[in-house]
């Protein structure tokens, strides 16, 4: 009984300390950041996915995960024409382009997926990152069926619909990339003519 009370007291104290730190942290964000260019202060407001992933250090568990995955899936806007393959040459340019949406980028300026920042993609490009898996030979290895095309499209549009705390940005839901641009990236990865899949 005493132990339970002591535990409860400790928990309350810890909660109080935590919520004081929470308040201090939130105030710090408001005081110590400022809007610049296209980067407004609203960007520091977290949605439910960002909040859960932050709180669980990107290792979420429990029922909340399924519900959020389902919701993220619903956010994907699939192409009305039901087609997913664009132009792989345009896709390669988009994969190389790292600009867009920073405070140094002008609105309407070039925006890309910065895909090579995290992924290996085309065999000729040796300047690739390793934060995400290699996508070399993706179409060759996993096939280019309509299902695969839909999967890749959905993944680029909203990676969180497949892996809730993925490090990959949600290029479609955030508005960073248009439908056509995502189709061009799907083509880069899955088109049999793309250098990604040529022997």
């Amino acid at each position: 009984m005493l132990a339970a009370t002591a535990c409860a007291a400790f928990a309350t104290h810890a909660d109080a300390a935590d919520s004081a730190l929470d308040a201090r942290f939130r105030q710090m964000l408001l005081d110590d950041f400022r809007a610049r260019g296209v980067a407004g202060m609203d960007r520091l407001d977290q949605d439910d996915v960002q909040k859960l992933c932050t709180d669980t250090r990107d290792r979420p568990r429990g029922a909340a995960v399924q519900a959020l995955l389902k919701h993220q899936q619903e956010l994907i806007r699939w192409p009305e024409d039901g087609r997913f393959l664009g132009d792989w040459r345009a896709g390669e340019k988009l994969a190389q382009e790292g600009r867009g949406m920073t405070w140094a980028d002008r609105p309407g300026g070039p925006t890309g997926g910065s895909c090579y920042g995290c992924h290996r993609i085309s065999p000729a490009e040796i300047s690739f990152g390793t934060i995400g898996p290699s996508l070399l030979h993706l179409g060759r290895d996993r096939g280019s069926s309509p299902q695969m095309q839909r999967y890749v499209y959905g993944h680029i549009y909203n990676a969180k619909a497949y892996n809730l705390c993925s490090y990959m940005p949600r290029f479609g839901t955030s508005g960073a990339l248009t439908e056509q641009q995502i189709k061009d990236l799907v083509a880069l990865l899955l088109d049999t003519d793309s250098p990604v899949n040529r022997p």
Partner: protein, 274 residues
């Protein structure tokens, strides 16, 4: 300029490695990293940061501001005017400002209190451009060089210092913005890189030690000396966050989180980076 630099590195690597080109696996990747590291070692004694160190020392000893005073009575934590070893124990709590401060905010404090310069004037343009040099960045080069060879020992004795560490840790893991990035998105795993730039795992002692002891540094691709405040600023920019206020508590908390994780490491700066 950056592309030209990478192209030049490519040529150097081609000469050093003399291997047939091809779509190899991880061995190509390892060779690239090893080649770049060798290139960095070759540059070891050619670090243009030394030029900024010399300029910083001159600024430290030159009378300036309405008070026409030098910075030679500036207290960086070891007493007025003590520069040697000062960087190795920053950030820390300062009694006169009742704030936990890093080197750059402390230099601002001294420029304001000793020289009478208005804060707004100092922070208006804190980062050098190719045409305008920042005095603060030169002072950073000078002061950090005076801690070369010394072990990092950021104190966590005061409650305010420990709170700064916790706040910095929270900011490190805070996912936000249209790209959902946190510092952890890039800096919480071993052996990762963005393009060809290796990313230290700042959540581990080993990663924090290696990273923190090589900043501030001369950035070859920019031809400029860059401070840690600059590094944080440019990280937040690429994270698609709004801009952090220069020398603010948030930037100091984040710096302290990483610096304290690096405690025990020998400070090797100023460094040289791509």
């Amino acid at each position: 300029m950056r592309r030209a630099f990478l192209h030049a590195v490519g040529i150097v690597l081609a000469v050093i490695l003399a291997k047939p080109a091809g779509a190899g696996g991880d061995e190509d990747v390892q060779d690239t990293s090893a080649g770049i590291e060798r290139y960095r070692q070759m540059l070891g004694e050619a670090n243009p940061a030394e030029l900024d160190e010399a300029r910083g020392e001159q600024i430290w000893k030159t009378a300036a501001g309405p008070a026409q005073a030098t910075l030679e009575r500036c207290d960086l934590g070891l007493g007025p005017g003590v520069v040697k070893g000062a960087y190795a124990q920053l950030p820390r709590l300062f009694a006169d400002t009742a704030r936990v401060q890093d080197l750059e905010s402390r230099l601002i404090t001294c420029m304001m209190k000793l020289q009478g310069i208005a804060q707004a004037d100092i922070v208006a343009k804190p980062f050098s451009t190719s045409t305008v040099r920042s005095d603060i960045e030169a002072l950073v080069a000078y002061v950090t060089a005076q801690s070369r060879g010394m072990p990092m020992h950021v104190p966590l004795d005061e409650p305010q210092e420990r709170q700064a560490y916790s706040l910095g840790e929270r900011l490190f893991f805070y996912r936000a913005g249209p790209y959902d990035f946190s510092c952890a998105s890039c800096h919480s795993q071993d052996g990762r890189r963005i393009r060809l730039q290796e990313l230290p795992n700042l959540t581990t002692k080993a990663g924090a030690r290696h990273a923190y002891t090589t900043w501030p540094a001369y950035r070859v691709s920019q031809g400029l000396f860059r401070s840690f405040q600059w590094r944080l600023n440019d990280c937040f920019r690429q994270q698609r966050f709004p801009e952090p206020v220069y020398g603010s508590d948030a930037t100091i908390a984040l710096t302290l989180f990483i610096a304290a994780n690096a405690n025990g490491a020998i400070y090797n700066g100023p460094g040289i980076k791509r």
